[in-house]
Each structure stands twice: as structure tokens, then as C-alpha cells.
């Protein structure tokens, strides 16, 4: 099977893939002079109590003659602020604290440094853009506001529609510049949305922007899961009359059925090396067990053999274990098995008699799951040995389907706390919970794509 490199691209619904010219062709990115000193790491994001850098992102300046009818000046600044705020590493200083005339400076000589120190900003991002017909050119610069020093800048050129992606890309650059690690601001989330009696797959940016529809099967389609390089999406669909497992190539949007055994073919999870998919099959007797499927050869290996229901596998990032849900102790709890010798150990013990939907962090340090406590589902987090229990959501509706970002720092989940089931994102410690989907239609089962290849 062809596993093509991702050129994931906004798809206009029902009219197929827009020609994938790729970001590089249409976005011209010119690197300005960076500081001659080697990039200093300002923030150690692995430090236990990382402090946040106060940063201000004033509205962008419009240098062109075409009017900014779409209010891109404030919108682009907001996108970057939201990205940096969500990262947990920055504290956003509201530009409204300063008179607008103090925030027009774009270059080092123009910026009013004294004003910035009055509001406690230690960093600043400035932007200047011009629009002509449906194209936009943007320059963005990052400064150290304590030393009044230019750190780095980029210039982008693209269509007006690409302004969100341009902002996310620059936020990634800021993140990388200050932490040494890549940011997740250009990633996306695929999910299920109920449409009438059916469920279809959709795709949006990690912050909910650029919504696209992926399937029109007029059927029940569930449990999407990205491959590690985000080039493929595995999912279950009833489109052929049975819950079968499919793969979608994200570039071409072509789908292929890869498992259609009798019974269920559900809950796919890709192995970290991309060669296998763990899934649940019930075959002839309706007794759900965990299997792994070799994506190339399609051969199956059985992982569990037990009279109880075993379902919802999730791989450890080193590929040696699978956590899963089993009712073998009477009600659904999280267990883990060693892939080589199939030995099973129990992970969740106390706190609740219905624990399910485990998701193993790509960093290996935590497993999150949805557990019933006091009649509601909440997201909980534990170490893989079951210790250091923490509850991440509380007091608000039912919170389910947790899924990790590929850097293991953020979690997406579904919640009906507003009265309708929507998607949310949060940091791994439960802070920063933010609704990212809106509008009609209940949403479920989010899966977070990995970083795009550059």
C-alpha cells in the first residue's frame, strides 16, 4: 500500500482535494537577520515549575493601500496570542492596557520600549502586513523587551485564506526560538460529528479553525486515529453494513477497507513506529479481544485471550505495551499488557468502577482516561504504574474521549458541559481548558495529528 507523504491541505467539501501546491510554493518565507548570538533558550519547558514569559502582541499594522475589511490587524494578533497563551509558557499582556499610539512601532527603532516595561512585558511580537486583491504579505518580528533586542523575524506571502496558517507558523517559530522544541500550532484534529442519524468525519486546525468535512458515507463512522506521521487516518465505519476498519490517505482522501471480520472491527490505535494498528475484534462469538494488525501484510496477532470484554487499546510510546479496557474484574477498568509475552497487569484500582478510553502519552509518563465519578465522566491522569492519580476535569458535564498531542503536552477531549457535546483542548495538567468547536452537531472522538513535516 502506498503511504504517501502528508501534504495535508484544506479540502473543499465534496469537490475533492485542492491541488496540493504545498505551503512552500504559495508561502514565501524569508528569514531576516537573526541575532548574531546563538539562540538562547529562555524557557526550560521540562522544568517542573516553568515560569511564564509575559508577552504582548499588539494589533498588526496595515502598511498597504487596500483597506483591512476583514479586521486582520486584530485577528492575526489574536491568533498568535491565543497560541502562545495556550502553550502555557507565556502570559499574555492585554494590548488594551496601553494607548494605541504606543503600540504602532514595528521595528527595533520604532518600538516604545519604556511603555512595554510599564506593563511588565518581557517580550513582544509585532506585525505589519499589506493586502492586494486576495493575497497578503506579512512581516512578524519577535523582540526581547527587557534588553530591547531583536530576536528573529519572518516574512510570509500567501492567500488571504492562509492568514491563520501563517500566524500558527510564526507562533511555532516563537515557541521554538524560546524553548528549543517545536510547537503544535500547525497541527489539526480529526473527529466525529453527528449528522442526523449518521456520524461523519471532520477535520479542523488544533484551535478549531479551517473546518473541513472528510467523509460523506451517509453512515455511522467512528473512532478516527491518525498514523504517527499524520499521513493516514484509521477509522471504523458501517458504510458496508458492518463495523469495519478503514484507512484514509489524507493527501488523496482515498479510503480502503483493511479489516472486515465478522463482529466488530473497532477502536484503532496506531503503533508509534507506524507499522501496526491495535484494534478490537469480536469475530464469531461476540467476545471482544485486542489484536494487532500489520498494516503492510494485514496479518493479525492476538493480544488478549479472556472471557471478559477487552476493548480500546492504546500503545505505549516505546511500543512494548498496550493499555486497554477490560471487564475481567467485574466492571470496566484499565489494564496493560506486554506486547511480547501478553502478560496482563491491572492499572486502575480505586476511584470509580467504570474507567475507560485510555490514552498513553507520547512522552510515556502518563495515561489519561475517562472515568465515572459521582455519576459523571471526567478525564483522569495516572502514571503507567497506576500511581500519582490526578483528576483533570471536574464539575462540568461529561468529559470523554481524551487524546494526546504528539508532543505529549496537550490533550483534546469531548465534553457536554455547555449542554451539547463539543471538543475541547487543555494542557496535560488540566489547565487552559478551551472550547474549540461551536455550532450545531454533537462532536466526539477527537484525534490529534502530529507535527507537519517541514
Amino acid at each position: 500500500m502506498m503511504l504517501t507523504q502528508t501534504t495535508y491541505w484544506p479540502v473543499t467539501a465534496r469537490t475533492g482535494v485542492r491541488r496540493a501546491t504545498g505551503l512552500l510554493a504559495s508561502l514565501l518565507c524569508i528569514l531576516f537577520l537573526t541575532s548574531p548570538v546563538a539562540a538562547k533558550v529562555y524557557i526550560d519547558i521540562n522544568a517542573p515549575a516553568a515560569t511564564s514569559v509575559p508577552i504582548i502582541v499588539p494589533p498588526f499594522q496595515n502598511s498597504g493601500s487596500q483597506a483591512d475589511t476583514q479586521k486582520l490587524s486584530s485577528r492575526m494578533a489574536s491568533i498568535i496570542s491565543a497560541d502562545l497563551d495556550f502553550s502555557g509558557l507565556f502570559r499574555i499582556i492585554d494590548p488594551k492596557l496601553l494607548n494605541e499610539s504606543h503600540l504602532r512601532g514595528v521595528t527595533q527603532s520604532q518600538i516604545k520600549w519604556d511603555s512595554l516595561s510599564v506593563v511588565g512585558a518581557e517580550a513582544i511580537v509585532t506585525g505589519i502586513f499589506s493586502i492586494s486583491s486576495n493575497r497578503i504579505e506579512v512581516e512578524m518580528r519577535l523582540f526581547d523587551a527587557v534588553q530591547g533586542r531583536f530576536i528573529m523575524g519572518k516574512k510570509y506571502n500567501g492567500t488571504l485564506d492562509e492568514h491563520r496558517q501563517i500566524c500558527h507558523r510564526f507562533a511555532n517559530e516563537v515557541f521554538r526560538e524560546l524553548t528549543g522544541s517545536p510547537g503544535i500550532f500547525e497541527t489539526g484534529i480529526a473527529y466525529v460529528m453527528r449528522t442526523g442519524q449518521n456520524k461523519e468525519l471532520y477535520y479542523c486546525d488544533y484551535d478549531g479553525g479551517n473546518l473541513r468535512r472528510l467523509t460523506t458515507f451517509d453512515s455511522l463512522t467512528l473512532s478516527p486515529c491518525f498514523s504517527p506521521d499524520a499521513s493516514m487516518l484509521a477509522f471504523t465505519s458501517y458504510r458496508a453494513g458492518n463495523p469495519d476498519l478503514y484507512l484514509m490517505d489524507m493527501a488523496s482522501k482515498r479510503t480502503e477497507k483493511i479489516s472486515s471480520k465478522k463482529g466488530v472491527n473497532i477502536s484503532p490505535d496506531w503503533s508509534p513506529d507506524g507499522t501496526r494498528i491495535a484494534l478490537t475484534l469480536s469475530l464469531k462469538d461476540g467476545n471482544s479481544e485486542i489484536y494487532t494488525l500489520n498494516v503492510k501484510s494485514r496479518s493479525l496477532e492476538r493480544m488478549t485471550e479472556h472471557w471478559a470484554t477487552d476493548v480500546s487499546p492504546t500503545w505505549s510510546p516505546d511500543g512494548t505495551q498496550l493499555a486497554f479496557v477490560s471487564s475481567r474484574s467485574g466492571n470496566p477498568q484499565i489494564f496493560a499488557l506486554n506486547v511480547a509475552n501478553k502478560l496482563v497487569r491491572r492499572v486502575t484500582f480505586s476511584r470509580g468502577n467504570y474507567n475507560t478510553s485510555p490514552a498513553w502519552s507520547p512522552r510515556g509518563d502518563r495515561i489519561v482516561y475517562a472515568g465515572l465519578t459521582d455519576g459523571r465522566f471526567n478525564i483522569h491522569s495516572i502514571r503507567p504504574d497506576g500511581s500519582d492519580y490526578r483528576q483533570l476535569t471536574s464539575g462540568q458535564g461529561n468529559n470523554e474521549d481524551p487524546s494526546w498531542s504528539s508532543d505529549g503536552r496537550y490533550i483534546t477531549f469531548s465534553s457536554n458541559r455547555t449542554g451539547r457535546r463539543e471538543l475541547y483542548i487543555m494542557r496535560a495538567d488540566g489547565t487552559g481548558q478551551k472550547q474549540i468547536t461551536f455550532g450545531s452537531g454533537e462532536k466526539f472522538d477527537p484525534t490529534w495529528s502530529s507535527l507537519p513535516k517541514n
Binding site: 458496508a240 477502536s267 467476545n287 471482544s288 479496557v325 474521549d401
Partner: protein, 169 residues
């Protein structure tokens, strides 16, 4: 420690077997995995099966939805009574095939409920087989919590949604 754990496991196993054999009729536990995994491809064609016509007095009296208890796939006496009638009819109408759909209420996660719905459908199938209905005439499918009958988060709605539903062709 190990021995008590083992004893506990055995007790739970026996309890589970016992609860799955709630009906007075003789039946083996439908939830024990047997032999090597059968890797048959799904041959369902669930689209061909038709819902029971509510205006047909005979069929709608026989093919009532079978109820299930919360998080259970064992057959209650009420379920067995319905299945007894279904088996009788199937044995008199040998050209017909039946599809049993397993459904769950909205509580719990979708994936676990898909698995539970599958077990419910298979419980019913095994029971029919033991009453002499040919396995080749019985199809099963799970819809988990995806196709509720009743809307709402009440005990009444949940009870209606925990069901085995029949279709014929």
C-alpha cells in the same frame, strides 16, 4: 497473596458464568472464547434485512425487543421467553434469516458499548442455536449506543435502549 488472587479470579469467573446462564434452559456460557480465532470476513449485507412491520400482528407479537440489564449481556427470563417464540417461528419458517442487533443505553463510552452490544446480540444468537435454529440463519450486529430508540437520560429511556432488536429477510 497469589493464591487468594487466583481463588478470587475463579470465583468471579464462576459468578460470571452463573449470571450468564440465568435462564432455566440448558445452555453453555456464550462468552467463553473457543479454539483458534476464526478469521472469516464479514458477510453481513445488513442492508437487506427489513424491520418488523408494526402492523403485522403475528410478527410484531413474536419479534419483540429483548431487554438487558445495565452493563449485562446475559438473558433475563423475559428475554428467554421472547427468544423461545422467535425460535419456534424460525423453525416453522425455514427460508427466513434473522438479524439480531445489540444495542446499549447512552452511558459509558462508545467503544465499550459497541463491544457490549456485540455480546448481547451473540447471547441471543447462542440461545436460538441451542433451541435448534441453524446458525447460518442467524446474523448479529452491534450498534452500541449509536441508534437509541428513546431519547433522554432517564431510567425509562435507558431501559428501552438496552435491547436486542430483530430484523428479517
Amino acid at each position: 497473596m497469589q493464591r487468594t488472587a487466583k481463588t478470587l479470579m475463579v470465583c468471579i469467573f464462576i459468578a460470571a458464568l452463573a449470571s450468564s446462564m440465568a435462564c432455566s434452559k440448558k445452555q453453555t456460557a456464550p462468552n467463553v472464547a473457543t479454539g483458534t480465532p476464526e478469521l472469516e470476513e464479514a458477510d453481513l449485507g445488513a442492508g437487506d434485512f427489513k424491520a418488523i412491520d408494526p402492523n403485522d400482528p403475528v410478527l410484531s407479537a413474536i419479534f419483540k425487543n429483548i431487554p438487558f440489564n445495565y452493563d449485562q449481556f446475559s438473558l433475563t427470563p423475559q428475554a428467554c421467553a421472547i427468544l423461545d417464540n422467535v425460535a419456534e417461528w424460525m423453525k416453522s419458517n425455514t427460508a427466513k434469516m434473522v438479524l439480531i442487533e445489540g444495542h446499549c443505553d447512552e452511558r459509558g463510552t462508545n467503544e465499550y458499548n459497541l463491544a457490549l452490544g456485540d455480546r448481547r446480540a451473540n447471547s441471543a444468537k447462542t440461545y436460538l442455536m441451542q433451541l435448534g435454529v441453524d446458525a447460518a440463519r442467524i446474523y448479529t450486529i452491534s450498534y452500541g449506543e449509536e441508534r437509541p430508540l428513546a431519547v433522554g437520560s432517564t431510567e425509562a429511556a435507558w431501559a428501552k435502549n438496552r435491547r436486542g432488536e430483530f430484523k428479517l429477510k
